[in-house]
Amino acid sequence: MSGRRRTDYAGVAVAVPVTVPYVRYSTKSAHWWIARALAGVLEGAGLKKSDVDGVCVSGFLLFPDTAVGLMQHLGLSPRWLDHIPMGGNSGVVALRRAARAVQAGDAEIVSCLAGDTNHVDSFRQTVASFSQFARDAVYPYGSGGPNASFAFLTDYVMRTTGITREDYGKLCVAQRQNALSFPHALFKKPLTMQEYLEARPIAEPLHLFDCVMPCAGGEGFIVMSEERARYLSLPYARLLGTIERHNAFPEDPIQYRGGWAMDAEDLYAQAGVGPSDMDLVQVYDDYPVISAMQLEDLGFCPKGEVQAFIRANTFTNDGTLPLNTSGGQLSVGQAGAAGGYLGLVEALRQVTRRPLGEQVPEAELALVSGFGMINYDRGLCSGAAIVGRGGVS
């Protein structure tokens, strides 16, 4: 790591968090969901399409289109365009790219959009052709998709650290409690620890409620200058720090740590705050094992001690560490690449005090963490961002 201090994100505003209500299955395409997200952020900001001069797009099922084709599809003519194929890390990365574009003046209004559909058979097709390595060396082995990949990891971590299903269950049960007030969560019933433990096995040691449910949905937000946000009277969040990393620790035989472990120090140094300053945390939660790993690697507890940390804390919105305050993907659903935006969009609602469900009391600082792309045996993309309460309350 170079000793040079990174430029901060002064003057950047992150505003207009939008969630397009999720559905389990959709007959529409990814384009439809992204179009709804764009319409949502424009309406929320009181802007016209022609005001948008920068666009960041993520969607697995845009294929054969990319962000480029989507611009004609949606009738946009941006002077800055980015397609971010990073799955669960898309939100964090879109944010840090867009923030730099705004700071540099390459674009003034950057719409960050993610959406994916879910046809009855589209998830299977996505899994089957996810990557060259997955097609060659994973999918022919039982075709379990991410369930199998995370089952390996969970098996390894449980055996080597002693963490139990009850510990993971505590995270899942708390998130479900958080989801009960969030109107767009697809899971609307409380989850008890007993139900969690007794759920049917999917890929040992994972059971049903350890596994995220694929669905359709869209998410979006806008990055602009604080000046512009104030002019538009938009409540906004400030961006304090970000990190991203790809293919971290390739020599590890199994992914017991992620890129955050390489970069967390850098993140907190840039933000000038530490983990204990966070009022809420949104971790990428397709499976609880990876949520717990993020808590460790982002410094909420020492590596290997997350079991004690989980036991010592509560994770509901009124808890000691509100975690995935809208219920996370495990209770809202995983809308493809929009799953990589879900936590960020929810964090923006919390720190701008515009929640759709419960408000975490006095939410000033939120940490959002992303994780994406199980290419072969591990997720390759990691990232995190710290957002803080901005202005125009």
């Binding site: 999918y139 039982g142 999917i202």
Partner: protein, 418 residues
């Protein structure tokens, strides 16, 4: 411990025979190098020609030094099981019909971490394990994690049997039991636990040596069969076709000489009629019914074996017309392999060097004992191998063809090939 395989119950005629499904067969082109090795029963991974690092999954450039010279290199497959899971849900139809399905992650001593189909006798991680390559029902190479030491009834593991065509409790049709090789194959199948062996014999009015001894085996039934006679093949197919799990075509016509030592085409025509058209007729009559039984329970139709010759790969001038007929048969066998693939029925091609029989009398040793050919065939079925090169001559031919097919052709023309 693997429970020993039981003789399958009689089939319930009311229950629909399940349609064959295949595991996912899509692979990148570079990944097919592993299939090429697995087809011969070898585990090979890419190894960097510059820095020596093993690569997996298959790549286009070395992940250490970016060198693009990545030859497929045989390796021992020793490693440690670091994680496991058992799937109870799958996105794929083939696996959905076969869950629970056990998988492992193995850290190979040579470097890479690999995902494997995990044998039931491998203990919980951490555990030493031996990784091997097998062809799955789609004909694609997959890695399997096996116990380091042989265990009791290891071959009977339910998952492992998906990758093999073990004759145990299976019903086998050997098309010609009159030759020493055909008879050795029948005996080897019986020894390997085959339930029933139907044995074809042409011209049944001629008593061939050894046939009555075969007939004395309780598993064996002789059936009159002439592979040059479509009517004869249809008769046999109507009797046993829907029950054949493994077909082994040992019928061949073999005479010496090339072009100049013969007058006319009668011999060549007979060679083609048996060696090439005989295979075609058999494939037309037995192929479709075997394809329909690709997923017929424990003892589904599973393999088709062609006794070819190493001379199919390059013409051996002193047996020139025979070589040509075997080359034709090889080409047809590739077609058959493509057509049987959707049913998961494996086509095994056997390329022996000269067999120690009457038609190779004048060839110098080494020559293959018929029992050695039989052992290689049964071994290939048990290990799920697709291309078999039994014996020293076949191995040498294979190596020299790989080194320089043209140079080897010239050597054969000069009479120094074998």
């Amino acid at each position: 411990m693997t429970a020993p395989l039981q003789r399958p119950k009689k089939k319930n005629p009311v229950v629909k025979t399940r349609s064959p499904t295949l595991p996912p067969w899509s692979r990148s082109r570079v990944a097919l190098g592993m299939t090429a090795a697995a087809a011969e029963g070898r585990l090979a991974l890419q190894r960097c020609g510059a820095c020596g690092a093993f690569q997996y999954p298959p790549r286009e450039a070395c992940h250490q030094c970016l060198c693009i010279d990545l030859p497929w290199t045989d390796m021992a497959g020793e490693g440690e099981l670091i994680s496991q899971t058992t799937l109870l849900h799958s996105h794929d139809l083939y696996f959905r019909e076969r869950v629970p399905w056990r998988l492992g992650m193995v850290k190979l001593d040579a470097g890479p971490t690999v995902v494997v189909h995990l044998h039931g006798d491998v203990g919980a991680p951490p555990e030493r394990v031996r990784v091997a390559a097998r062809l799955d029902r789609a004909g694609m190479a997959v890695l399997v994690g096996l116990p380091q030491e042989e265990t009791a009834h290891m071959a009977d593991d339910r998952q492992l049997r998906e990758f093999t065509a073990d004759p145990k409790f299976r019903r086998v049709f050997v098309t010609d039991g009159k030759t020493p090789t055909g008879q050795a194959v029948v005996r080897a199948l019986v020894a390997a636990g085959a339930d029933l062996v139907w044995v074809g014999h042409a011209e049944p009015w001629k008593l061939s040596p050894g046939l009555s001894a075969l007939q004395a085996l309780p598993q064996v039934t002789l059936l009159p069969l002439d592979v040059t006679d479509l009517r004869s093949i249809k008769d046999v197919a109507s009797q046993v076709g829907p029950k054949v799990d493994i077909l082994i075509n040992t019928a061949e016509y073999h005479r010496a000489y090339g072009i100049g030592s013969r007058q006319g085409t009668d011999i060549a025509r007979m060679e083609m009629d048996v060696n090439y058209l005989g295979l075609l007729r058999l494939a037309q009559e037995f192929g479709p019914v075997m394809k329909a039984r690709g997923a017929d329970g424990q003892s589904s139709a599973v393999a088709w074996v062609n006794l070819l010759s190493i001379f199919a790969l390059s013409n051996f001038p002193s047996h020139g017309t025979y070589s040509a007929s075997k080359a034709a048969a090889l080409s047809l066998a590739q077609c058959l392999r493509a057509e049987m693939r959707p049913a998961g029925v494996r086509v095994v091609n056997v390329f022996p060097g000269p067999i120690d029989d009457e038609w190779n009398q004048l060839l110098p040793p080494p020559k293959l004992a018929p029992e050695a050919v039989a052992k290689a065939i049964v071994g290939a079925l048990k290990d799920g191998i697709e291309d078999v090169y039994p014996g020293d001559v076949a191995q040498e031919w294979k190596t020299r063809l790989a080194e320089s097919a043209k140079g080897f052709e010239r050597e054969l023309a000069l009479g120094s090939g074998t």
